[in-house]
């Protein structure tokens, strides 16, 4: 046991966090706070501070937009996590230095960030009016692509590769010895996964799913390219409030929507932390 008093003991190690806090403080927290403060600003003409922008968050149009955004984000996070998790597992069984793994992970890395106008057009070129698949299968009505359902499909295109990339390191941590040990004890594949595999992977799986949720939640360019009318998502509503030709711009609404988005993600993250604590009990 050290003879030193407890005070330096407690503060000393915290110093290791200072570089990160400094960087995040300057380049992340400060911009966020500036945005938050601007949510309280009133109309440019009248000036002063007001809660107006926050009141509009509770109004019917924005409530339904919030609900739609949440549904879209949870759904694509779920599909992305499950499908991506499966693909990641399959990749993890391959040779770690082999060609397959290198190519699949590289392709996933690139597709995870593929979005915006280019991705939207890729789908238009596939299932749009004159799309390759439309012509092959003789489909007639292609309007579904420009609705929330279409967005779900398009989002999945980058959610799945993202899951593969962030979840693979967790799968790599599974030692083959554990499987062998389970085998020698006579466990079936299902028993192995239920008692060893899933509990060990649950925290990383949930964490990755959380990332997928936040990723879908804040996506803007892809949604804008496909659904330019009606702004059914929170990020699109923010865009509408900032980029305006007809004098209806509301910078403070954009900021208050951003505050709402941060609060929602904080809430979801709290749920994730609670869920993680629960699943970690399986490991005991």
């Amino acid at each position: 046991m050290s003879h030193r008093s407890t005070v330096p003991r407690r503060i000393g190690p915290s110093l290791g966090l200072v570089p990160f806090l400094l960087y995040a403080g300057i380049f992340l927290v400060v911009p966020t706070v500036v945005v938050f403060v601007s949510a309280f600003r009133g109309d440019p003409a009248t000036g002063g501070f007001t809660l107006d922008a926050f009141r509009r968050l509770g109004a019917a149009p924005i409530l339904s937009i919030t609900r739609d955004t949440l549904v879209l984000s949870f759904a694509t996070a779920l599909v992305g996590a499950v499908v991506g998790g499966g693909v990641a597992y399959v990749v993890s069984t391959a040779s770690p230095t082999g060609v397959l793994r290198r190519f699949v992970t590289s392709i996933c890395g690139v597709l995870a960030q593929f979005g915006g106008v280019a991705l939207a057009f890729a789908f238009i070129a596939t299932v749009g009016n004159t799309g390759v698949v439309t012509q092959l299968l003789g489909l007639s009505d292609t309007r579904w692509l420009f609705s929330l359902k279409g967005l779900m499909l398009v989002y999945t295109y980058f959610q799945v590769p993202l899951m593969v990339i962030v979840f693979l390191p967790a799968l790599d941590g599974i030692r083959p010895q554990w499987r062998e040990a389970a085998d020698t004890l006579g466990a079936s594949t299902w028993a192995y996964w239920r008692h060893v595999g899933f509990p060990l992977l649950a925290p990383a799986f949930l964490g990755s799913a959380l990332l997928l949720f936040a990723n879908a939640f804040a996506t803007y360019a892809t949604a804008r390219a496909l659904v330019n009318q009606g702004s059914p998502l929170l990020s699109l509503k923010i865009g509408d409030s900032l980029g305006n030709e007809i004098g209806l711009a509301r910078g403070n609404l954009a900021a208050s929507l951003a505050v709402e988005m941060v609060l929602i993600v904080a809430l979801v993250m709290t749920g994730y932390v609670l869920l993680q604590r629960r699943t970690s009990r399986w490991l005991r």
């Binding site: 399959v90 890395g109 890729a122 804040a218 941060v262």
Partner: protein, 264 residues
């Protein structure tokens, strides 16, 4: 079930899954290619739009800018995140959730709003460091935090960081040795994933670069898209292929070390 039967089953499953999923994911890319080689009055020969990519000077400069930004961002991210994440796991367990939340924050605020708050910060960067496009590095490091944190977290969770570091320290290793020679070799897959994501994010970033008036890869692609649709689709596809080749190259830097190093 014997090990070899399982291995064979795994291989079959592997190929089946990858072929099905890969085939589905290849469809939009194939459609993009088909569109880029369409013959139109503007595009008289099939590969004109692809040839135009090579001839574009502005694009070449933008590619170099984006590559430099990607390299610097990966470096900055690794230097910032890896020591911090290791340290909080060993010494500051209460800080883990704080850092986790801070690393999720950049993803929740859409870039168009974040720019409002970044203005003053960027003016300091321009004043103190540089006014050129590399000033974006500071912002990009923050943008990649959510993805890289998650990848590194998955890797660190799989090894017992506390035990490893304490064992190394008790054998007299300095902190640098602990990080560089004990922990890092055990999380190469996570480091690689994090680097991949950082590179991909930087190569794909558009909004912040355009709002701060820098010409990176995506800004130039968007500019091309305003005039010529064949060329812009070809350029987007080329950027994807370029990204894949780049990442494959980076994966060789990871070396041929086997996954488990810790038994020695």
């Amino acid at each position: 079930m014997s090990a070899t039967t399982r291995a064979r089953q795994q291989r079959l499953t592997r190929w089946a899954v990858l072929l099905v999923v890969g085939g589905l994911f290849a469809l939009p890319l194939v459609s993009m290619f088909a569109y880029s080689v369409r013959i139109t009055p503007q595009n008289r020969s099939a590969f004109n739009s692809w040839k135009a990519i090579v001839a574009n000077d502005q694009l070449r400069h933008a590619i170099v800018t984006s590559l430099e930004l990607a390299g610097l961002t990966v470096l900055g991210m690794l230097l910032l995140l890896v020591p911090t994440m290791i340290w909080i796991r060993i010494r500051l367990p209460w800080a883990v959730r704080l850092v986790e939340f801070l690393c999720l924050l950049p993803l929740t605020i859409p870039a168009i709003v974040l720019v409002v708050g970044l203005d003053n910060v960027m003016s300091w960067v321009n004043y103190l460091v540089t006014t050129g496009p590399l000033a974006l590095t500071f912002v990009y490091i923050v943008l990649v935090l959510p993805y890289c944190y998650r990848a590194l977290d998955a890797g660190l969770a799989a090894i017992d960081v506390k035990t490893l570091s304490e064992a190394a320290r008790s054998l007299g290793a300095s902190w640098t040795t602990v990080v560089l020679r004990v922990i890092v070799p055990n999380i190469t897959s996570a480091l690689l994933s994090a680097s991949f994501l950082a590179v991909a994010v930087v190569l794909g970033e558009f909004t912040i670069a355009s709002l701060f008036f820098y010409d990176n890869l995506q800004v130039v692609i968007a500019l091309i898209g305003l005039e010529n649709s064949n060329v812009s689709v070809a350029t987007s596809l080329a950027a994807l292929i370029f990204g894949v080749l780049l990442l494959v190259t980076i994966s060789f830097v990871g070396g041929r070390r086997p996954r488990q190093e810790v038994e020695s």
